[in-house]
Each structure stands twice: as structure tokens, then as C-alpha cells.
Amino acid sequence: MSSVGILEGVRVLTLEQVHALPWGTGFLADLGAQVIRIESLDHLQDRKAGPFPDGKPGDEWWNEGGNLAYFGTRNKQSLCLDVTSSDGKEVFLKLAANSDIVTDNFRPGTMQRFGFDHESLIEVNPRIITLSGTAYGYTGPWRRAGSRARTVDAACGLSYLTGYEGGPSMRASNNYMDHSVGNNVAYALLLALYNRNQTGQGMRIDLTMQETGVSAIGPAILEAQRDISRTRLGCGHLWQSPHNVYPCRDNDRWIVIVVTNDQEWQLLKQAMDNPAWAEESRFASTLGRWEHRHELDEYLGRWTAGQDDQELMQKLQNQGVIAGAVFTAQDLANNVHLDERGFFSEFDNPNAPRVGPRKYAGRPFRDPGIPMAITSAAALGEHNGVVLREVAGLSAAEIEALAASGVIATTPRPEEQSP
């Protein structure tokens, strides 16, 4: 937990898996909330997801994955509790009675089956905030449908708009929707806490992946109502050119170059030493460049093809032309700009000595009053004792009994397969 603790005293119980919800609660953990992630020995896929050092899971693989430190149990506590058992349910309700927020990403109906739905929880905690993050929400004809980030990418309209020029639709990403939804989860929870500070009231939040996705394509939603259709243009632009990706020297190296107006076109021409083709009148105006963008891209690509992507980026930017090299993860991890800005989070997970110190992406905002670094990554069940004692009020003997009957655990079952 962060040392400053803007959300110090806020307690979050989270039944979360995979990406979206853990990404969202990670922000609250960074801000100092006590985020208790409840985990199940029956569902260890997040702990199997890696990445592992050199791609190889070790003897304690369940504590080693990089995704755990990046968002899974980042700055959180882990309580490995079987909430499907009657003892586990009882413990969960005791925890919920002493928590501010309960979140889950089960399909609608599951929380009710457990007796953990909002109506049940306000019985034990009238000021509770609950959030369920689902594919399509708790109401509507699609409420029972499951999702992957990719299927929501499709259902929200983003995939339809994405694709190479003249080509078929493509999903924008296998996980952009997860992270985008996670950010929206954090915003919704912070709004609910803000509201509770003002009114004293808790709240029920029904947040969906599909709708978060639709909220990100507002312009196309408006256009669709007035028969304006957006064509797929790859890296191209609706009215600007050059605005594309161009090949550079060496295999699979590329640069993007963007010209938004005539002045920038002049600067690009100068940077190219004013080749004859660039003086052609069809390229003289924004509209002309756009209408002849394929020829323009062809010419420009021939100019970039022999050059080093990063050197060309430096040269163009220094001459006032908008450009960026197409960075690989390796480029980024070694990037001087990001490094000098203190963007990266270097973290050595004491729960995974085999992993050693590794570099992670940081948060994209910097504020001396809001440190958001990775300071811990909870091991499986690491906080069973402290949470059950301090939050649920259980005695040492009661905790021991739960351990003996397998309701709580700190290691996978012996028969569990290594990933």
C-alpha cells in the first residue's frame, strides 16, 4: 500500500479474476485502500497466467507471475478462502460487514446464489458500495452472456471500425477492453466513495464492458444516426495525409509520420530536401494530399525505407514534423525518455525470490502527492491470518480450524498442475 494513503481506511473486498476488475481495483490499492483479493484454489488461472522468468514457471509458480505484480495482487492483500463452503460464506459476510466496497466480476446471478448480492450485503452493512463488472450488465436480454475482451471489442462497435484500408474488420486488441474497463471501474468506485463522503450513502454499481466500449466510440455512434459511415483506413486518417506508417531500414522497423496542415507539409518537404515529387500541385493542399494519399504514401515510403527509424524520428521531430518510431516492447523498456521521466516501476517481489528485480510500466500520471508505485504483490493466501483476525474478528483457534478443513489455504492442492 502506498505510504501517503489517500484512501487509507477504505477497505475493498474483491472477488475478481482475469483482467478488467483486478486492473481497476489496483488503482485503489495504489492509493492506499486495503484491497483484499479473495482467491479460490479452484480458479488459479490468473496465477498460472505468468509471464514467468524466461517463460518457465518455477516451483512456486503461483506467486511468480508478472501479471500479479503488475495488477493482479499489486499492493493488495490475498485471502485464499473457499466462499462456496458454508464456513467460507459466513466468513465472507463478516468481512463484508466491515468493508466499504465489495466488487465482483462473476456473471449475473452468481453473487445472489452465494448470498452476496447487494440486497443481502446491505442487511449486514447498510453503507456498502457494491460493484459488479460484467460483459453486458445485470439487466437486458444479453445479461447472461459471458465475454472475452475481444468479444466485447466486437460487440461495442470498435472492431467493426478497425482494419486495414479496404480490408475486413479486426479486433482492436485482445485486452484493450479489459484495461479500459478497469480504468472505468476505478473511476466509478472513486465516484461512489466521493458520493458517500458527501451523503453517507452506499451504492449499487452495475458496470459493463460493452457499454464502456461504446462510450469510447461516441463520434461513430452519432454518425450512425445520420447515415454517415466511417470507412476503415488502417493507420490512415479521415482527412489528413501523410498520416500513416512507413517502412524503415531493417526488418519490421517502421515510423509513423503525420501532417495536419500546409505548414507542417512544408516542414516535411524541407526535411526531405524538397524532392521533385513533393512539389507536384496535387500534393499542395490538405484535400489534395488526402485524395492522392496512396501515391503520397508510396513516395514517402520510398524515402523512409533506407533510414533508421529512431534517427529519422529524432530528425523529423527536431524539424517540427510529427513523427514517431513504431516501438517494440524492447525499445520501450530501454527508452531514454521514459527512463528519465521515472516512468518505470522497478520491483523486486519478496514473495518470488526466483524472479528478482524486474521493470514494469508505471502509471501514466506523475504527481508528488499521489505515488502509485508497485510496493508489494501478495502471495497466495498471504494475508489469511491478518484479514481473518483483524477484519472478520476470528480467534486463532477459529482460523486454525478453517485451515484444517481446507476453507483457507496458502498453497495449491497437490494435484494442481504447473502451468
Binding site: Y176, S180, E211, G213, A361, D367
Partner: protein, 402 residues
Amino acid sequence: MPGILSNVRVLEVSNGPSGSFCAKLLADQGADALKVEPPGWGDQARHEPPFIGGDPHPDRGTTFLAFNTNKRGITLDVEQAAGRDCLLRLAETADVIIECYPPGRLNDLGIGYEKFQEVNSKVILLSITYFGQDGPYADWEGDDLVAQAMGGFLYAVTGSADRPPMGTALQQMEITAARNGVIAIMAALFRRDQTGEGTHIDLSTIEAAVSTPSGLIHPYTFTGRSPHRGGSDRNVMDGMHLPTKDGEVTLTTAGTGGRPMEVWAEFLEEPGLLDAKFASRQSRLENWEDLHNLVAPKLSQWNNLDLMRETMGRGLVVGLVQSPVQVVESPHLAERGFFVELEHSEVGTLKYPSAGFLMDGSNPMQTARAAPRLGEHNAEILGGELGLSTEELGVLRAARVI
């Protein structure tokens, strides 16, 4: 119902899509957001096609309309001293100021963070730029495509392995920066309530691209390999888009209890899927054309909504590749009350997407107003709230300050 942020005043002097969207997210939850635009021309997005009705018009651009709901709009020329004076007076009562100028630009004009703090010690300033306020690239310029390129998204995420890098549509990196921005602002509001202190937040769109959608850094530092695009190439069961009678669908192997081909063979009534050459993920990739030739004709007999209903009933997970028209007309979203209708004098009534969450069963998005026309609220805010007289407003107008 007043929004949760109805006691928060936001001053947006951004002139950039990330700042506009960030202020919109706050305005849609009730914040009193004042959008400050340069007189005459306004926000650049006012001039970006497409336009409702077809012809260019500064109040009819779809991006501008979508990114500026629930704001009031004024014009101020901050290049002129009189404009800066008005801005500083507005800053006195602002909780949050959002700006997207190049680093140092506001400082050079004499309206940097220190100046804002002088008039309002508790103000929270969010600066959004592509590269951040410092570092070797701080003075460079960017756009959404540059953020996708330098954020690692372009190389690794969207396109095909054997084709050039390709990215996502509709400025998603700007949106991502904005989504991080509201988290930072909410954190700063909590902190201000505790300490009485304002702050200056430095947000980089490139860094939002690196950290948020793709998770590139630690996969590389753990394995030494850079993720590469092409994850959905040749992947019939878990990635490709396949035609239906009235659109497209993407399948998954989720919800099949580890027996994807048996379950899908039964659902599609295509026993050919049980062939051993489709038994493993790897063998399906190797034989993807054969698999495609079996699956595609079966799917093309389905209507999208029927396919969704039937697969859902069996616990299978698919994604309809919906067009924006299909999204707007979605019975599901209609039943949830997701879209809100806003009336605008230039474009009429349109449905707008809301935030993506219901609170206590209701859509919390405010419906105060559609995007402001250029300078629409000059008299109301500069006259009514700052108390400038009609004569003073006339002087400002004549000098093109407003």
C-alpha cells in the same frame, strides 16, 4: 438527479481530444465544466469532419459533439492580457483545471500552475501532453497515431503478423489518457479534502498507451521477447471475424468445458469439426483454411441476434461484430437505458453513449446539455458569474478577446 460531482467546477483550456474527453467524463457526472476556447476558430475538433448534415460547420463535427457533452462554453483569447485576466478570475472558483498546451506554454503566458495557485491555492491542475512535462522528448509533438506507435500498441497489438503495423480506430489512446486523467483527478480531490492542498498532475498520453492497453513492459522484462502483432491471424475459433447472415461474429472456445470442438460441432451441426486435425489449438492454426471452410458456411446461416441468444443459452461465448448502426439499434442497450438523448440547436436530437455504469439502477449521465456552440455561454458566465457589464463584454468582443 444532480450528478455526484455537482459541487466540482472544472475549467477546460485544453484544445486537445484527451483533455476534452477527460472534462466530459467529469461533466457527465455533474461537474460544472466550463470549456474555454479561442475566439473565432474554437477547439480544433470543431473543424474536423465528419459533420452532421455533411457540410463543414463548427457546431456540427461529430468528434466535437461527442467529446463535449454537458459543458458550458466560453471563448477567451489567452494570448491577450484581458483574456488571461478573465481566465484567472474563473480559476479562482475552479476546483480542477485541465490543459493540453505544450509544456511551459501556459507558464510563458503567465498563467502556469504557480499563477493559478496564487489565485486559488487549492486548485488541481491536470496537464495532458503526448510526452509529458519533462524528459528529452517533452517538446515533441504527437497525435493519437504517434501515441499508438511510440506506446507500443501499433507494433504489438492490432494488425497481422505479416503486414505492416496497424492500429485501432477513433483515438483510443486519447481516450485512455482521459480515463487515467479522471482517476488522477479523483485522487487529487480526495487528497485536497484531507490536506487542503491542490496539485499539478503531469499526464502523458504515450505513457497511458504503454501502461494501459497492452502490458508490454513486464512481458518483455520477464521473457526477453517483445510481443508481436498477429494474435488473431489464422485463429478461426479464437480470433477471426466470420460472416453471418447479417453481419459478422467472432467465436471463442470459452464455456465449452475444455471440449471446444465437440461442443461447437454439436452447436453448428458440423461433425467435420471432430476431425483429429482440429483437436489442438496448434493443429487448428495449421489447418485453419479447412476449419474455416467448415465453420463459415454454417455461421452464415445465422442472424446475429439469433446466434447470440442461442449461444448464450448454452453458455457459449461469442462476440457479435456489431456496426455502429447495430449498436445504436441494439435491443439490449435500449432495455438498459444506455443511450441518453440530448437536444442541440444545430444538429437536433441525438442519442449519446453514457458512462458504462448504472448507479442504483439508474443511468447517472447528466442530460443538462449537448456540446456548447462557440461562445454560447459568454454572457451567462462572463457577465452573469464574473459580473462583467454589457459595456465591458462589448470591449472584450471588439478586441476579439471573446
